[in-house]
Amino acid sequence: MSAILFYLATIVVYGAVDAMACLALNVEFGFAGLSNFGFIIFQSVGAYVAAVLSMGPWQKSNGGFQQYVLGWHLPWPLPWVGAAIAGGLLALPFVFLVGKRLRGDFAAVGLLVAAVLLNQLVNNFVPLFNGAAGVSIVPAPFQGIWNPQGLGYQFAYGGVAVVLCVAAYYLLRRVTESPYGRSLRAMRDNDVVADSLGKNIRLQRTSMMVLGGAIAGLSGAILVGFINLWAPGAWGYAETIVLFAAIIVGGAGNHKGAILGAILVPLGFEEVTRFIPPLSNPSLVPALEWVAIGLLIILFLWFRPDGILPERRRILSGAAPGPTRAQPPVPVPLDGSSPGGDPDALINLGNLDTMDFRELLHLAPAPADAPAVIMRTDGLTRAFNGVTVVEDVSIDIQRGRLTGLIGPNGAGKSTTLAMLAGTLAPTGGRIVYEGSDITAVPSNRRATAGIVRTFQLASEFKKLTVLENLVSAIPGQSGDSLTGALRGRRHWGAEDRANIERAEEMLHGFGLSQYADTYAGGLSGGQRRLVEIMRALLAQPRLLLLDEPMAGVHPNLAHKIGDQLTRLVEAGMTIVMVEHELSIMDAFCDPVIVLAEGRVLAEGTMAELRAKEEVVEAYLVG
């Protein structure tokens, strides 16, 4: 009987440790989109640090049969705190790898390799953590006063582990179910776009690596305090794959899924195989266990890629009573060929006419003495692999105007816009915004300074709802930082409700209220365009850069959008728009800048340009 109870206590500790690890990996992978293939080293460093902090100096204790650093003999809970700190700090060197725009699979391979490297180093460098033999006889917490072999101790230990696991769950939930969590998921879905809306990608990734690392470190500490030894064999890189399998099975992006996965995969496999009688071939069962994990990964990714408990859709529209309540989404016909069936033609922006953009977007009219030029470029040049795409472009962007940027295919319009927004670094020239040189300022900081762009290709955050897409762009949210999120809903809740209300009002204006809680990835082309424009507007730009906002949009809708852009300019915004539909330029843009073959060809109103021989040539003759 007591054997069963001891076993039960063991399962509880293991389960809590695995669940903590999976929760931590899930915020990195499922929420922030970081494929940390080296995750196991974070748990491991926690285990080692907790061990050597709780053990005495090696020369004295254990007769000096093992060698290790520190040996400070600290009382509980200090070793565990140290473990969490060590796990967090270990994340910092990897910022080099994940902070830049490296292909996701390349960064993952880098982390995998780092894990193998550290394992080899610890394995071979004995003075650090006693090499391949590992540290053993690690004291259990309160060892002197309470018998660690007793059932009471074991259950108390399990209880503490479960409490810490539950605490980790609530802590991580607090982070992910906040405006900051929204930003994390936005980054996961499209980091370039999140960056253009002012999110600091490097900081967000680092924060999540540190937070995940700290929790992983703590889980390692709990484990080593219970099993009392830790060696390189326990944390081969493949252990990370087991945790990935757990998250894929349980459901990435879902905390409960991570816990379920932890129970089914690492814990489940370990425990089930305990009951298989020993066979003549001792490596058969463990080998088959690995095969099963491999198969589990492949089969789940094929048949149920979202896991048993898929990420849940966040319904925001209930949070604030919007102008219109959510209705079931209208089915979108796949082939827009029948004129009456084009959903985009039916979108009605009429509600916008009564909307006060100044109030909704917190727009302030420019002071009377503000310089007429809001942005100026000086010899802007960009080459790709030696081919110059934009050459010596010097333009002035007039404050409070809707400037059009036109030109034949390949004229360098989008490249120029990308340089203005900071998405692309120029290879030559300068950009001056509001009097200061911003050539070297990264795009997220340009966004916070009021320069916001949209993208030519679909760039919605697919697995965020339409409303989440919009709210995520609102700048200066007090819940949109790790510390803000940790302070809890009381800190940011009211403000967030107000933000949601603003977004709903915007959505209502654009006639898309019924899609508030639909995943943005499921909308029609024209609707996604509108989501993108709304999102950019809610980022409260002073200078809005639109890259072909009307591409693929029904002409009726395009003109409705144009009318609203005019109203925005009247409300004090400056807009630059790349567009190829010249009738749009005619109707709304003044001045229009013509680019051809990477250079500025002409500038003026459309009427003036149409009279210019060289423009007509560029367009019609060449």
């Binding site: 082939d335 295919n409 072909e548 591409a551 539909e581 009738s583 019609l620 060449g622």
Partner: protein, 248 residues
Amino acid sequence: MSVELSTQGQVLSASQVSAGYDGRAIVHGIDVEATPGRVVSIVGPNGSGKSTLLKSLVGVVPVLGGSVSVGGTDITNVPPERIATMGVGYVPQVDDVFPPLTVKENLEIGGYLLPRHQVHERIGAVLEFFPRLKKMMTRKAGKLSGGERKMLAMGRVLMLSPSVLVLDEPTANLAPLVATQLLEEYIRGFADAGSTVLLVEQRAKAALRISDWTLVLGGGRVVLSGRPDDLADNPVFVESFLGGGAHR
């Protein structure tokens, strides 16, 4: 033309073609018929669906409705590598060469379907046609200038002696003189030699000069079609490019 590069043309015909990506049509119900000895051009502003239409004819973009045939054989949604065997040579607007391969190797890939002994001979014929390429046979295609690169792209499809040439904005990013030469000398030349030429062109007036028939696309539909002489003076034609505020 000193060398016979292309063979007697076949009729390329599209009937009520709708095509686009992810099941969503970008061009709607378009009829085109290109016949031997003639240049049929498709013009229209950016984003009007010209390239999508062309790609759907050569199997790169799925046809969602209607049918395409060449020489009477149905090629609707036939994979591009099969269409290439039927005498249709397609030059895309961008990514029109293999940058890491040398000029010679690009031409050899162009002649991939030919029997081995004919490849060398055909390369000779293509070089007769584009003598500038002769001096740069061992240069990587990625290092060519815009004009040279386009010649190589054209040379690549000529390797198979196509009976139908499908060209997507061949003059994009070319200097005006080179563009004119390409259109008036080479592309018109193919048609005069009996091939079928279907051309998408952004330089509309230049295209009209060498065409026998022209379609004007706007918003994925044919807004105008006719003989170039009739189109050039049509106010709708000019307006479809430079606008006129008439849409409002």
